[in-house]
Amino acid sequence: MGPIISVKNVSKKFGDFTAVDGVSFDVHPGEIFAFLGPNGAGKSTTIKMLTTLLKPTSGELRLAGHDVTKEQDATRKVFGIVFQDASLDDELTAFENMQLHAVLYGINRKQVNARIEELLKLVDLWERRKVIVKTFSGGMKRRLEIARGLMHHPKIMFLDEPTLGLDAQTRNLLWNYIKELNQKEQMTIFFTTHYLGEAEAVAQRIAFIDHGKIVASGTTEELKQQTGTNNLEEAYLKLTGTQVRDETLDSAEGNRERFRSIMKNKQR
């Protein structure tokens, strides 16, 4: 069986700026794959291209055999995604958010309620199903998003910094769900994170991206050997340097940041 995610020579340019520069990699079915790199390295852009949100400037992306740019709808059915920022409707209840997703993905009507119950129980949110999402904590929202992403039995799950801003307990819980899903349903997991310890503990294979290019890939062992280091964090720093990156926020993200800081100040 061939790779379930195949990226060949993919580039993405925004005007003069090349965010992703001739990237190629494969992920095999059932694998847990970590995609790591500093801020602004091209991780999110790659995920957006893989999930049909952005069109590549050149190159070919395939998910479960489907050409991502040409067969968008077929591609969209095979993956689930948890975005870097929340993507729930805050004004709806947990159950309503799940229901909406079920309709968008054309889940058989008779199975919808049972499926929602099963998933909300999996992430321990069944008791809270009638609560408006606005009142949820960051961890609860993230759990709900994972449950939602699983609704349509995706073959591939994309997790873009799924544990960002969560406490150690919740992070631990999330990784346990994810590992369990990977084992039970043979689901391929593609994730990014800044916590290198997590990647070392969970990922079967890792790719490092920097300045839009893949700088190294392999298992943790291979990466340590290649760089002559003792752990993944050292290998990472050796490959990507210690310099701090400035990530330019796009305007939507910039606004979100501003809005959040205003809301935070208001709450004080």
Binding site: T52, L53, Q72, K77, F83, S87, E91, L92, L104, A252
Partner: protein, 248 residues
């Protein structure tokens, strides 16, 4: 349940849960109706044109629908900023359906607000000349809602921040409203204003609703209908085209 229905329902649920928005939608039009309607009524009557309140209610209904519909485009910016838009954009459904479902939800809300204002006007003394034409007036209100909603969806798709959106809104809506036949009859104004009002589609919406509610028309109901229909089609095309172009 279809995709369009669930997205429509989402808008209705969101609206019904935000009490403040429901109330805020009426304050401005109510002030217009009271201040202008009662304030200028005697002057209007002196010039032999009958009741100004009767005359102005269709205009105020149009204003309510315009502003509530236009404000709806802010939802798209909101959805972009809070990420929900991405959830719909990665789903295996066409953008057209996403846009249509959400827009129909928004149009329904505007229409409800227009109808509530109509009821308030009746409580304040407004009388339609023939009740059997009221449903027809509601059809025109619906067309106007959908047209403005499509336009605001198009603007919301292009603009990324709220301030710019509000600025674009005010820049476009206020002149469109005041330079229409909403507040004054067109037969008494200088030629330049008459020309401006005659190329302004809002005038035709006002005129259609005025004809069906109080039996007064400047352009004729068929003209009103065709201009409104043309505007609706053009703006629907604009809105869905822009919405398709969104890249997250």
């Amino acid at each position: 349940m279809s995709v369009i229905y669930i997205l429509w329902l989402r808008q209705i649920k969101r609206f019904s849960r935000s009490g403040i928005r429901i109330v805020m939608g009426f304050v401005q039009p109510l002030v217009y109706m009271l201040a202008l309607g009662y304030g200028l009524n005697s002057v209007f009557q002196l010039s032999g044109r009958g009741s100004y309140i009767q005359f102005i209610v269709p205009g105020i209904i149009v204003q309510t629908i315009m502003f509530s519909s236009m404000f709806w485009g802010a939802n798209i910016i909101w959805d972009k900023q809070f990420g929900f838009l991405k959830e719909t954009l990665v789903a295996p459904v066409s953008r057209m359906k996403i846009m249509l479902g959400s827009a129909l939800g928004g149009a329904t809300i505007s229409l409800i607000q227009g109808i509530i204002l109509f009821i308030v006007a009746i409580i304040l003394g407004f009388r339609p000349y023939n009740w059997t034409y009221v449903p027809l007036a509601i059809v025109f209100m619906g067309m106007l809602s959908m047209a403005i909603i499509s336009f605001s969806a198009g603007i919301g798709a292009v603009v990324n921040d709220m301030q710019a959106f509000v600025a674009v809104n005010n820049f476009l809506l206020i002149p469109l409203f005041f330079m229409s036949s909403a507040l004054f009859p067109l037969d008494g104004v200088p030629t330049v204003m008459k020309i401006i009002a005659s190329v302004n589609p809002i005038s035709y919406a006002v005129d259609a609703i005025r004809m069906t509610l109080i039996h007064q028309s400047h352009f004729g109901l068929w003209n009103d209908f065709f201009v409104l229909l043309g505007t609706l089609i053009a703006l629907l095309a604009f809105g869905s085209y822009r919405f398709k172009q969104i890249q997250a």
